[in-house]
Symmetry: C2
């Protein structure tokens, strides 16, 4: 089954303690697609300017099941982001953001994408996320992402959106900001009371929680010896998560737990190189090996006597 993603398609310039990359493929839609397409066909909806190296994107995605039929090209500059990570790699320092044509983006879902059973609303204005939902036909699962900027500036729209999504992914800081609850268990419960049946709280290098109202699942981030560039880890996580569900069509708790692990595995690959480079390189063997490594990382046997 296919996954529809609506998100940014950008050009990133990134500096880390290990190197520098200029105007490379970036954006939430791009990372999500590169990740999810390992597991299921992806339909990408986004916008780029007329300066976008669209042939590079097509070439990068040429061997992947990613339909670019919803990628609009408009007059004007593309979304560009420039950022820097210090030695702790924990948080990006944004040096420049130019929204370009992205600032007037109004997602139009092509006819052939409207029945996608899995829908991921990347981190864009909640009003646009709601517009996307008006254009799709009864998906099996709708998930959304958001960020501090929308929580602050579009709270009423975001609250309305929450009534219409099955799952939200957000990071710990955003969960605290949205709910005004410091404790993440309480924050998740607050969010579930507003609509979503599932809440995924990402803690970056500290892993991710999934809450479903009756149980909590936790997956650590994979302890890599070299994290090269953290950009896109969260969107790659979402891609692995949604891609896994779309591949299996299984929304049982066991499947959702594995989806979190597939997401974590994809996040761990994304940070090994700049841009989507590592995500495009890996094959199914790499992915299942890393999932196995996650299992060994956390697995313990309970005693027979306890």
């Amino acid at each position: 089954m296919s996954v529809l993603v609506v998100g940014s398609v950008a050009l990133d310039s990134v500096e880390t303690p290990f190197g520098k990359a200029d105007n490379v493929l970036g954006g939430s839609g791009t990372f999500f697609s590169a990740s999810a397409s390992h597991l299921a066909p992806v339909q990408l909806v986004g916008i780029v300017g007329n300066d976008y190296p669209i042939e590079s994107l097509k070439k990068a995605f040429s061997e992947r099941q990613i339909d670019l039929g919803g990628l609009e090209q408009a007059d004007g500059p593309s979304f560009r982001w420039r950022g820097r990570y210090r030695h702790d790699l924990n948080s990006a320092e944004t040096l420049e953001t130019h929204l370009g044509v992205f600032s007037n983006f109004r997602p139009k879902i092509p006819e052939q994408f409207r029945r996608a059973p899995y829908v991921f609303l990347g981190n864009i204005d909640p009003r646009l996320q709601l517009e996307v939902l008006e254009q799709v036909e009864r998906p099996k699962l709708v998930a959304c992402d958001t960020m501090n900027f929308w929580i602050e500036s579009r709270r009423p729209d975001l609250m309305k959106l929450l009534e219409h999504v099955d799952l939200i992914t957000l990071n710990d800081g955003e969960a605290r900001q949205l709910t005004e609850e410091f404790n993440l268990v309480k924050a998740a419960r607050w969010i579930m009371a507003k609509g979503p049946k599932l809440v995924v709280i990402k803690k970056g290098e500290h892993g991710a929680f999934m809450f479903n109202g009756t149980s909590i699942f936790f997956a650590p981030a994979y302890p890599l010896e070299s994290v090269f560039d953290p950009t896109g880890a969260g969107d790659s996580f979402a891609g692995g998560f949604m891609g896994y569900l779309a591949r299996t069509g299984d929304l049982s708790e066991a499947s959702l737990r594995r989806a979190v692990v597939y997401g974590s595995a994809m996040g761990s690959f994304a940070v090994e190189k700049f841009s989507v480079d590592r995500l495009l390189e890996i094959g199914p063997g790499d992915l299942s090996r890393r999932v196995g490594e996650f299992h060994r990382l956390v697995n313990f046997e309970q005693e027979l006597d306890s």
Copy 2:
């Protein structure tokens, strides 16, 4: 089998967003003992002043297998610590520290404690930790803790100590400070090259890693809805860890992994109330239930086809 612990026995005054406690039982030796004694007999070596409410300690520990035969009472004031936690509960702000008789502590291991098969050197001067090792007879496992103060002021002694311990527990900040490696996988490898076969890096609310040179194990902190007072969580972790090993006498990797989970479970109980109150309250049923909850928290089945 029994566990010998050498550590501080103090009086803590703590303020958290949820309440205040004055002159309550505290110190690394106290938390370790309250925790480990759920699983194995404990022999405590420490020092208190003549102002110490020794009867309260005896009463608190009366139903537990804790031998206080190594607790020296000296002329002078007891070790007192006063601290405060803000709403994020992540790091204590120390308001006052009075070492009192602890500043002249020279651990004397009673004859009947010298053959303890499991030895935990709580966070004291590495010179004293080395003196303890000179007094014990071939333990099966020696573990030590340390802190930023000793890493800074007693590095040569600490490096010598590392040659003589099987395991070190320290937090992520301390591991980075000791090794000058930001990456924890690299930091653990650096430490193992200096002696310890096992390294446990604690990340507080973000869980704990155990490294053994060939594999990595991770256990999250239990996602409690109410963390009341984080004081003593690390020492309670160490107590659960060492207590489990002493109970089973099994140093296989499977057992060490379970020990980390028992440690994490004990840490999660410790923070539910002030001082050792919650650790003294719980029974074996509570402990095995929480270990089961840890299992459900991280457990996922790998797919058959991957």
